[in-house]
């Protein structure tokens, strides 16, 4: 059961509190400087000369009103002596005090934090020349002028409830907030931030907001129009969980502002973060083995790239069109990743073609240098069947005939119907003969060319089987065709097979949204694969949009009990936690050099014990099979193939490493002074602190949907701890080791 609304309402507030705190402090210091330049009233204050006529005399000039948070520059003018230095006092205390305000040797007066009672202080300048003379003035301490610089209103947990968040300067605990002319109760976060939960009519586009500070010095801010966002925190965070390598507080807020479809449109337009080619000779970290450079580039890109959706889809594609650095050159894999990322939103045929001709896949499944059948040194050899078989079995059609909703077609005896025969495997194998590496510039191409890991393979006609081939559905490819003609004929035959839509779309849904999509969900997406609405088959942008926008994908935005989701595989678990907690790379030497940043290259060392590193599957069957069923159940759940009593313990160890800041080359701040740490020790009341902390974590890792029972258990546990940093560590550990987080839903 999921917690009721009150907790979740509070979640939003505390979430923003935590993550705005750093900004707030920054604004505060700025406000101090600016205030010093513009605050206070002008004119000279009356002064009272007390010196004898023949000795030194002094007068004070400067503003007689000081506003909290602003400074006032006072000037002492000394006459009848060459020593014009003075000492300053506030209420008779040299240099002043925290209660009455302080004054520097140069006469810069800083008011106290709060209005003193009464709200006046006496400032005195005393000459250093003798006989001593002094002058005094009365300074009135006033409340600051409130200024609203920006605001946001984001949906709460009911249709008319919104979370208002104002940023500005001069805010007080006693500031009064008016929204659309009505006074509402507000929560003071800091002098630069105010919060409120407000009620607005459905479809309100914007509201006017005014902040009023009370006397002394009472004043009213200018009115500011705040745009009302349409998207709830839960919906925003869930979309990010499905479409990126992990929600961050900043991204959640952004999606709330631009909406789900707005975010997808933005992401479709972001250019590919290309992994740089590994140079020759390679950088130091991969001088003897190219793998660290490939790993480094991948981790940095998925953790920090702006093209999150593209990279997430490319990741899904990389677990369907599997190649592995276990046997493939890392330069080729780097190029291959760029191919998948570039093609992620284009057309499925483009993906098929680019994958087929990539040197990485060529090398991995042996289409590279596969010669036509023939006799070599008296020994008859057959065309290599590897790529032909797996292209059908894994990348396009699958083994059995499918209905458009992904279910099996059955024959008259209730048996599934095989898509292809061994003879058809061999026909495709012959169609794909004659391909080798692209030649170096200026070098004549031959069968076989030396390694070229970055350019698409080229066809050599003399090594190509030119006999006719019978493809799927009995389609005949005539004899005498070239490498390219046979390739395009074979790929077109597969691309148009009706299985491709349901076979591929179901897997993409499983990778992005849910292990067990309803047949109706699969049918809706595969219909888009068949026709994007403009008559085009295989439009990937349309398919991705359909997957992420589907009613089944979005149901959990408003129905926490909607059953679905999928286990976070180890690499996504790692990126989710690192992005959510704000792990920062500290490889100063390498800086932004994506290739040479040795720290990113070692991230995979933490997921490897759980069975995964980027592009390192043990076979073309990926780290887990799409049709895996959890033992003892009928639940299809691919990622669970890697979840067992051994890996579950190893994941606990990984969680401990993460909360103990143990990821080499990275740092995460979970200290008392960190954003979460401030929450953990904000009130000085253990139970309240723990609740705020857990609510903040629930936003980051559970879309603000932590079940009440879980929240209570974690809060009760954390409240027994006194060290704020330990509270943060332990609460985070308990959240990220829970199955409720491990299973993204």
């Amino acid at each position: 059961m999921i917690a009721g609304c009150p907790e979740s309402t509070k979640l939003c507030v505390d979430f923003d509190l935590v993550w705005r705190r750093a900004v707030g402090l920054f604004c505060l210091s700025l406000a101090g400087l600016v205030g010093g330049c513009s605050g206070g009233s002008s004119g000279s204050a009356p002064t009272v000369p007390t010196a004898p006529t023949a000795g030194p005399a002094v007068t004070i000039s400067g503003a007689s009103q000081a506003r909290l948070g602003s400074v006032v520059q006072l000037t002492a003018t000394v006459s009848n002596t060459s020593n014009t230095a003075v000492s300053w006092q506030v209420n008779g205390v040299a240099g002043g005090s925290s209660a009455a305000g302080t004054i520097s040797a140069a006469g810069l007066y800083t008011p106290p934090i709060a209005i003193p009672s009464p709200n006046t202080v006496t400032i005195t300048a005393v000459t250093q020349a003798t006989p001593v003379a002094s002058a005094s003035m009365v300074e009135s301490i006033m409340n600051p002028l409130p200024v609203v610089t920006s605001g946001s209103a984001t949906p709460g947990l009911s249709a008319t409830s919104f979370n208002l968040d104002l940023v500005g300067t001069g805010f007080l605990a006693t500031s009064q907030l008016q929204v659309a002319g009505s006074t509402v109760s507000s929560m003071f976060v800091s002098s630069t931030e105010l919060r409120a939960t407000i009620t607005l009519a459905v479809n309100t586009a914007a509201v006017a907001v005014v902040v009023t500070n009370p006397d002394p010095g009472g004043s009213v801010s200018a009115s500011v129009q705040v745009t009302v966002a349409k998207t709830s925190l839960t919906a925003a965070a869930r979309l990010l969980d499905q479409a990126t390598f992990g929600p961050t507080p900043t991204d959640i807020e952004h999606v709330q502002q631009v909406g789900l479809s707005g975010y997808l449109s933005e992401q479709f337009a972001v250019p590919t973060t290309l992994l740089p080619n590994i140079t020759t000779p390679p950088p130091t970290i991969c001088a003897t083995n190219l793998l660290p450079c490939e790993q480094s580039e991948w981790w940095q890109t998925v953790l920090t790239g702006q093209d999150q959706l593209r990279q997430r889809v490319a990741f899904a594609l990389s677990e369907i069109f599997v190649v592995s650095t276990n046997s493939v050159n890392s330069r080729a894999v780097t190029t291959y990743h760029n191919t998948l990322a570039n093609d992620a939103f284009v057309n499925f045929y483009t993906i098929m073609q680019d994958v087929t001709l990539s040197p990485a896949m060529g090398a991995y499944l042996n289409m590279l240098n596969s010669n036509k059948p023939g006799t070599v040194n008296g020994v008859a050899q057959i065309a290599n069947e590897n790529y032909a078989r797996e292209l059908m079995q894994l990348f396009t059609t699958g083994i059995y005939m499918l209905n458009p909703d992904g279910t099996l077609q059955l024959d008259g005896n209730g048996k599934p119907i095989e898509v292809y025969t061994e003879a058809q495997v061999q026909a495709f194998a012959r169609a794909f003969t004659g391909w080798t590496y692209a030649p170096a510039a200026g070098v004549t191409s031959k069968f076989t060319n030396p390694a070229n890991n970055t350019a698409p393979m080229v066809g050599i006609e003399s090594a190509h089987d030119m006999t006719s081939k019978i493809l799927l559905n009995g389609t005949s490819m005539p004899s005498g065709q070239s490498t390219s003609q046979d390739l395009s004929g074979a790929l077109t035959n597969l691309f148009n097979h009706p299985n491709v839509g349901p076979f591929i779309c179901k897997q993409l849904i499983q990778h992005l949204v849910a292990s067990n999509p309803s047949v109706a969900y699969v049918a809706r997406v595969s219909a888009v694969f068949a026709n994007d609405g403009a008559g085009k088959r295989g439009n990937m942008r349309a398919v991705i949009t359909a997957i992420l926008s589907d009613a089944d994908a979005r149901a959990g935005d408003t129905s926490p009990n909607f059953d679905g989701g999928h286990l976070r595989e180890p690499m996504l678990y790692m990126t989710n936690v690192m992005r959510g907690l704000g792990f920062a790379n500290k490889d100063v030497a390498a800086g932004n050099d994506v290739v040479a940043n040795a720290s990113y290259n070692t991230v995979g060392n933490y997921t490897s014990p759980l069975g995964e590193k980027p592009y390192s599957s043990g076979s073309v069957f990926n780290f887990f099979p799409p049709n895996y069923v959890i033992p003892g159940t009928t639940m299809n759940a691919p990622e669970f193939a890697q979840e067992n009593t051994a890996s579950a313990v190893l994941r606990l160890t990984l969680a401990n490493t993460l909360v103990y800041n143990g990821v080499s080359g990275f740092t995460v701040d979970l200290s008392k002074a960190s954003a979460l740490g401030i929450t953990a020790s904000k009130t000085g009341v253990a139970a309240t602190d723990a609740g705020n902390l857990v609510d903040s974590l629930a936003v980051i890792f559970m879309h603000g949907q932590m079940p009440l029972q879980m929240r209570t258990a974690i809060v009760n546990h954390v409240a027994t701890l006194t060290d704020p940093a330990q509270r943060v560590r332990v609460a985070t550990y308990l959240v990220i080791t829970s199955s409720f987080f491990k299973v993204e839903h």
Binding site: Q381, N386, L567, F621, G632, E643, T645, Q709
Partner: protein, 449 residues
């Protein structure tokens, strides 16, 4: 749909069939000392990807070798000289891959046997029946399907239980009534082989037997773990969350049991080869066998395995390296069972997706085939012998399902499995429930153990 909470015995009523006492998944530690005589273990070593049997066990007589060499061409192993085949003293017309010297020694010392041309079959099948499209296993030549069918004893790949899991369903109550861990342990992740209708395995990561690391102080670590475990007891109402709660809860429990059982036992003296994945797995298995009494088990099945046998190219080199890692790993494991005085109680056997085409492809590799040869090892094995029928190594010959040397198996993998199961303790009356197809075969016991 909701998943039921399950321990390693998911459904006591199923597992307890035939035993009214039912089950105690986490019963009190069995205080009965268990001597080796009460103990039996099966150890499966799965060679993922399809090991090429044609270059594992090779004819050595003049005619046989010449025929082999003529077809294999660039893939033919030299008969003699450096890197030459190892002739078997106990079967002089045959030889092993030069990277299997330990297996040859174990064979010749009669603790290892070879079972030839075994494959997935629903019933005995001739070449003619195959070509006529008879009753055949589904998706021959497909890796995942054939892996699953070896593991479930030639059921359809959709069958949700493996034959070891079904043995555990049947025998756990009678043999491991006080077991602290499931009958089956996997050191190579989750596989169908280990799953029964009511049984799930304990998975162990080799070398990581204990619990999770914890950086807090001892008191807080204990408290933190208690809370983390408590969170797993909450009913989220979400199927996958519940499923993961169960797995993770079991993980905590098994880690605790295994840590306690292994905390004060002497280290094995047997030296296992370093940097050898299979050796690490087998060493872990030996260590668990060592503490069998503390675990309260008298019957155990282990699953180990390594991959990369899918040698579509560069086969001589790739397969050679793999076999060179298997040979010393199996030898060390056998030695460890001797050290533990259980060498007659532990039987190790190989399985693999399928064998590979006798005819090479154009990348000095081979493609997916069918019937394969397998190794069985242990003191109980009637070793030094070959079992089954060695195929006629002729393209389009009497054993070739087509023209590329994909041998139609002459022994069913279900017979191979049933033979091992009977040694383990499965009675003839229990056999057909565990191996539904066994009745279609003329013999249920191949006699190699």
């Amino acid at each position: 749909m909701r998943v039921n909470r399950r321990s390693f015995i998911r459904d006591a009523s199923l597992a307890a069939a035939g035993n009214a006492a039912g089950l105690r998944p986490f019963g009190a530690l069995n205080s009965l000392a268990q001597g080796a005589a009460d103990y039996k273990a099966l150890v499966c070593v799965f060679l993922f990807g399809g090991n090429d049997s044609n270059n594992t066990l090779v004819p050595f007589d003049t005619t046989g070798y010449a025929n082999y060499e003529a077809v294999r061409g660039p893939l033919a192993l030299p008969q003699t000289g450096t890197g030459g085949l190892i002739q078997l003293a106990q079967a002089p017309n045959f030889s092993l891959n030069p990277n299997l010297p330990d297996i040859a020694k174990l064979f010749d010392s009669k603790v290892a046997a070879l079972v030839t041309n075994v494959g997935t079959l629903i019933a005995p099948t001739t070449k003619a029946q195959y070509q006529a499209g008879g009753i055949l296993p589904t998706n021959l030549f497909s890796h995942p399907d054939q892996q699953l069918e070896w593991q479930n004893a030639s059921q359809s790949a959709a069958t949700s239980t493996g034959w070891a899991g079904r043995i555990a369903d049947t025998l756990t109550t009678s043999y491991n009534p006080g077991g602290q861990v499931p009958m089956i342990t996997s050191v190579a992740g989750d596989t169908l082989f280990c799953n029964g209708a009511a049984s799930t395995p304990v998975s162990v990561s080799p070398g990581n037997l204990g619990g999770a690391a914890c950086g807090e102080g001892a008191t807080e670590c204990a408290a933190q773990q208690a809370t983390a475990q408590a969170l797993l007891q909450f009913d989220s109402g979400l199927s996958l969350v519940q499923a993961d709660n169960t797995i993770t809860s079991n993980a905590y429990n098994y880690a605790k049991v295994l840590t306690a059982a292994t905390s004060s036992v002497p280290a094995l003296q047997t030296v296992f080869p370093a940097n050898n994945a299979l050796a690490s797995q087998l060493k872990q298995i030996a260590q668990i066998i060592q503490v069998r009494a503390a675990l309260g088990v008298s019957r155990q099945i282990f699953f180990a395995g390594i991959g990369n046998f899918d040698t579509h190219s560069d086969e001589l080199s790739l397969q050679g390296q793999l076999l060179a890692s298997i040979s010393p790993a199996l030898a060390a494991f056998y030695q460890a069972t001797q050290e533990l005085n259980v060498s007659n109680n532990v039987t190790t056997f190989t399985m693999s997706d399928f064998s590979r085409t006798f005819q090479p492809n154009s990348n000095t590799g081979t493609d997916h085939a069918w019937g394969a040869h397998h190794i069985v090892l242990g003191g109980a094995v009637k070793g030094g012998q070959m079992y089954g029928t060695f195929p006629t190594l002729k393209l389009a010959g009497p054993d070739d399902s087509g023209t590329n040397g994909r041998w139609v198996p002459t022994t069913g993998s279900v017979q191979y499995a049933a033979t091992l199961a009977q040694w383990f303790g499965v009675t003839s009356s229990q056999l057909s429930a565990i191996f539904p197809n066994i009745g279609s075969f003329p013999t249920t016991n191949l006699g190699f153990v």
